[in-house]
Each structure stands twice: as C-alpha cells, then as structure tokens.
Symmetry: C2
C-alpha cells in the first residue's frame, strides 16, 4: 500500500526524527511504498495568502476560500500545493507526525493543512439539500483512506488524563481527528502518543518503537474511531445537531463518536 508521512519537526537528530526514520523503515520492510513530506526540510510556506494562486485576482480583495476555489478549479494553484494534493490522492494511508506545541500541531503543519486543503478538494465538495450538507464528515475526496497521528509531548500522561489539568488528550486532538481528518473523508485511527518526550532513555526508546512498530504493522487493520457520518441520518439538516434520540443528553466532542455495540 501507499503511505504518506507528513512530518513537522525542525531537527533530524531529535526523537521525532528518529521515530520518523524508524517508521519509514518499518513500513518499507513490510512492503509498503512510503513518501515523506518533511515540511521543515522542504521549507514549506506556512501562511495562506494571495500568492497561493498563480493568477491572483487583481483589483478585488483577497478572499481565501473563493481564491482557493478559483485556483483549484482552473489549475492555477501554486505548484507546492498541487504536489501535496497529488501525494494525498496517491496515498492509501496518511500519517501526520509532530510534537504537540501549545496543545496543537506546529504552525508549519497547520499551514500545510490550510494551503493543501483547497476549496473543491477538502471542503466545498458535494451538494447541499434537505438530506445532505456537502460531502464531509465521513465523505469527500479522501474517503476510503486512513489517517493516523503520531504525536510526542513533554507532559506526563496523567496531565492529559480525563481529569488532568491539560484536558484529555483525545479531546485536545478532536479538532484534528474530526475537524481536519474525518472532515474530508479519512477513516481516523486512534493516535500513537509519546508522553514525557524529554525523558526517553534507551529502555523507553525500545518500548516506544516496539509499540510504534505494532501500530504501523496494523495500520490497515486497526479499527478506526467510530465518528458519526454527517449525512447518514444521525444529524438534523441544516442545523447539524445530533438527533435527540441518539445518545440523548450527551454533549461535547464524545457525542460524535458512536458507542460500541
């Protein structure tokens, strides 16, 4: 299978750099084709702006989504954007690897999402009607592909506990899992997490890579997070509020994950 690893760390000789190399080797040894988008090495342009189109509209204010739509539809996207979209279409699975900085992805990776996720590619796809609200949240250009996060954080696991001060890690990652990956159609796997990333000795590194290896070996068989599809009848259209008879009374991010049978 084809695996795209989008990697966002500035230092090759870091824990993240080592885990990236380990992942590539493990996946290739299993017979997969692997491509890496090493955003720092590529000097990826982070800010979304008018320069993302080869023919920016002159004389009219820059409108991010309309400009993106025009460039995508007319083959006028900046080549760096088009190349990454090709990689996404090529991939059967996508891994986003990054250190958790200020409880989200590094700016350079956020800018990759903002620019590569064009209107017509990752959003603004499909029709709106009485029963549908576009192809998103379970449908879309990237449907049928898998995605997984590989995230390191300096904090302790308990700090990300259900009652830990940082908030539960699954809630911190929900806007990425659900809002960035499930949105354009990915099946989203549970994340691979490394806590206390500043305290990795040889024994812990062996344990971390052992666990990572298992996750990579099961990349195409692990059960995805059971996010609820938008257009399957579970949400009211157009309010997009969960139907009152589904998980009655439950609120918050967890309401959008189906309970196990």
């Amino acid at each position: 299978m084809n695996v795209l690893l989008v990697y966002a760390h500035p230092e090759p000789k870091s824990l993240n750099g080592s885990l990236k190399d380990f992942a590539v080797q493990r996946l290739e040894a299993a017979g997969h084709q692997v491509r890496v988008s090493d955003l720092y090495a590529m000097q990826w342009k982070a800010p979304l702006d008018a320069g993302d189109s080869l023919a920016p509209a002159n004389g009219t204010p820059f409108h991010p989504s309309l400009a993106s739509k025009h460039a995508f539809e007319n083959g006028l996207q900046s080549p760096d954007i088009a190349r990454e979209q090709e990689k996404l279409k090529w991939a059967d699975a996508v891994i986003l690897q990054f250190p958790l900085w200020w409880f989200s992805m590094p700016a350079i990776l956020k800018g990759w999402i903002e620019r590569v996720y064009a209107f017509g590619f990752a959003y603004g796809v499909g029709e709106h009607s009485d029963s549908r609200w576009g192809n998103r949240y379970g449908e879309g250009t990237l449907a049928g592909k898998r995605a997984m996060l590989m995230v390191t954080t300096g904090g302790w696991e308990s700090h990300y506990d259900a009652r830990g001060i940082n908030g539960p890690i699954e809630d911190i990652l929900f806007p990425i899992h659900h809002g960035i990956l499930y949105y354009p159609g990915f099946d989203v796997l549970p994340p691979f997490l490394v806590f206390r990333s500043g305290r990795i000795d040889g024994d812990r590194y062996a344990a971390v890579t052992e666990e990572l290896g298992q996750r990579l070996d099961t990349l195409f068989t692990t059960e995805p997070i059971a996010f609820r599809p938008q257009n399957g009848g579970q949400y009211e259209i157009p309010s997009l509020i969960l139907r009152s008879d589904i998980s009655p009374g439950q609120t918050g991010f967890a309401a959008h994950v189906a309970l196990e049978n």
Copy 2:
C-alpha cells in the same frame, strides 16, 4: 489602559479587517492606548527554528525549548520575537483576532505563539516542588493581564452547539483559552464570536459591531472564565489530576472551570 491587538487575516478589506479597524477606533475613543500586531502585514515568520536565536549552537542538534531558553536568558532572541514580548509586557489586555480555519487559529498566528512564547517567558517559569509545578495555569509572566479572542467562522452557530457536529465552540477554543492564554497567567474573557461570517449584510454588520463595541467597552470589567489555578490546592502534585473531592466524577475540559456560586 494599554491594549495589544494581534491580528491574523491576509486581507485588509475583509470582515476581519473591518472589525479590526472598528475595534481600534472604539478602544482609542475610550482613551486606551492601542497597538496592533498585524501579522500578515508584518510578514511574520511562522516556523519556529534554529534561526530564532542570534547565536544558534553549532555542532549540536537544535533543541526547541533549550535553544529558546538560552536565547531568552542571554538576550540572543531574534529581534522580532523580543519586540512582541515587549508588547505583551506593555499591554494590560491582549486581543487575538482571527478567522477560525480548520477549527483553530491560522498558521501565522500559531507561529507567533510558538516563537514569542519563549522558555523562561511563557513556559519554564517558576519552581517545581511538592506543592507547586511551575508558575503556570493562573500564574506566570502575564498574570494580571486580560486576554480575549475575537473569532469569525463561516459555520452556523448551531453547528457549534453542545450537540452540533463541529463540537461546542467553547471546547474547540479551550486549548487556546486554557492552554495558550491561561497558561502564562492571563485572565481569559469569554470570546467574541461571529458565526456565518460569509453572510454579513448591513443589518448584521451593525448588530455585530454593536455587540463588539459592548465587549470592548467592558474589556476591563467583564468577569473572566473561572479556570482553576494549578497551584491553589485543587490539583494533585505532580500528577496534576483534579482532586477527587472537586466536581467528583466530572471529566473533560469543563472540569477545569469552577462552578458558579
């Protein structure tokens, strides 16, 4: 009072640009001193990297937090970083204004946080002991100052409802409110939000600016979100799990907000 507005939108002739101008005029008319960090106009460098120090360590791998600590302690920070830190120290209140892109702040603003929030300035402050875990979450360099988000989003308000498909807006913003603003000490005000930002006609614009004006007029009197201070005894040290007798059984982001009396 002194107000710093950190603004992240690429187009001056946008809704965000208009609201920024409105906010500056309203605050100045009330007698406040206002400074604006217009990140796109400043061509703010988003990616955190070794170039953020004037004297990067040669021959050793780049370590983001240790490099930041060394540069901060020795006056070796890139001047653009030091200037923004000075603005933060000058300010009595800070407003972060941005369109919600993929359920978080634009990359250029995330990169402002990552680079300006140096080790020794916004994290890595204070001592660790049996009763304290550094000066953070309610204590720190920016304690005594206020912060507020001004956020526009194209989605409907119902999509961000307690059971809306995007997740509740207060949960989507929690990692910013709590993890980025409360962390280094800010008192965090409820956000100013504009939904369906693509459908603002004259009447709605008048209503939006009326509400924004009220929020700016009460910037220094509005009650902050009642986040729980880390070192006040409500969390176990060092696990940083909320004490079992406080909001027993409650989990998730909301557990970190004190209930009203």
